[in-house]
Amino acid sequence: MTYAHVIPRASGKTDLTSRYWDWALDWEDPIKSAIWDPETGFGGDGDPDGPLTVGWGSCIANGSFADYKVLFYNFIPRLHCLSRGLGRCFERPWTGDAFKPSAIQHVLDQGTFADFSSAIESGPHDAVPNNVCGDFYYLEAPNGAWNDSYPDRQFNQHIDITCTIDPVFFLHHTNLDRLWLKWQEKKAGRTWEYNGRANSVNLEPAKLDDVLTMKGLGPDMTIRQVMDTKSGIFCYTY
């Protein structure tokens, strides 16, 4: 089974193309977004009266995901309920400043891929998990550096990125992908623009031939294969 088989099936009779959550539409009050509707969305906040579970969140009280059990948080497999704590991990209300119109414009105005990448990363990318909290929560500072002022109350200093547990993760990232495509389409030749560092350990420059490992969930791919949304393994637009 290859991706080439997947795409036609996914875009066939049953429309299973990815969906996205445009948080910019909710910047004035992200907690009231339709995405959190218990029945026609992904469930809302964790039960404020329930016990704390992970990432300063608690079990989602009602709706489609109230009975949703997940395995990981951090490195430790530990079966628990899908948890959220909207605006609770920093003990201040969730404002949508990181994705207000001027903030989105700032991201799209960046001149190089590396600058675009850091602007979107430290902006809307981090703002969403850092305010949804619970399973979606990132234990990291906005600039990507670990900071002792954000201790994890449950698992003590282990840093992990298991945020994909929350199904909203995929809609969040699809929206980031949409903005990336918007940035690519702003100027000719940007489809293949890729620069910055390859990874944070060896400081090598990023190359289109760098490999993205899938650990067996699918075939490994190169960056080159994921740059263009309208050729190769992808065939989609927004």
Partner: protein, 163 residues
Amino acid sequence: MNDDANSSEAEVDNRHQADRQADLKFLTRRRISALFVTTVIILAIIVLAFLSTASKDPRQACVSPAVRREWRQLNNTEKKTYIDAVKCLQTFPSQLTGIGRRSDDFPWLHRHIAKSSESYFRTRLTVSDSTQSTIRQCSYHIIDISSTYTRSLCASSATTLAS
């Protein structure tokens, strides 16, 4: 007479020979044309085979791209289809972890993709980190397609899942 007879015999021989040559030429021509037709057919097969491979060339642009829509642009049935597909991931065993469900593969994979950035955090380097972003920028693409991948399996029959 004899001469005449000889000459006419020789003529007949010549004629026969000419006929044979003509036959031979005809046969050769036929063989050549048969060979030609066969070659053309073989070439055509090769070209067709090449074209059909070329049509699967990953570099070829897609004709009618799928349009990804915002959550609020979906009707309630479409929303339910998506949510059901997400929940369906829990009904199959994990491919990667050995202990969880299929839905647990994504956090597991994401954690492993981000491994280099994790060691970065641990060593507490103070350099600014564009890398981790780039890794993530690309990995969401992939994780996203994987989710489409797995969701499409869920939407199809369980027998496909076994293949």
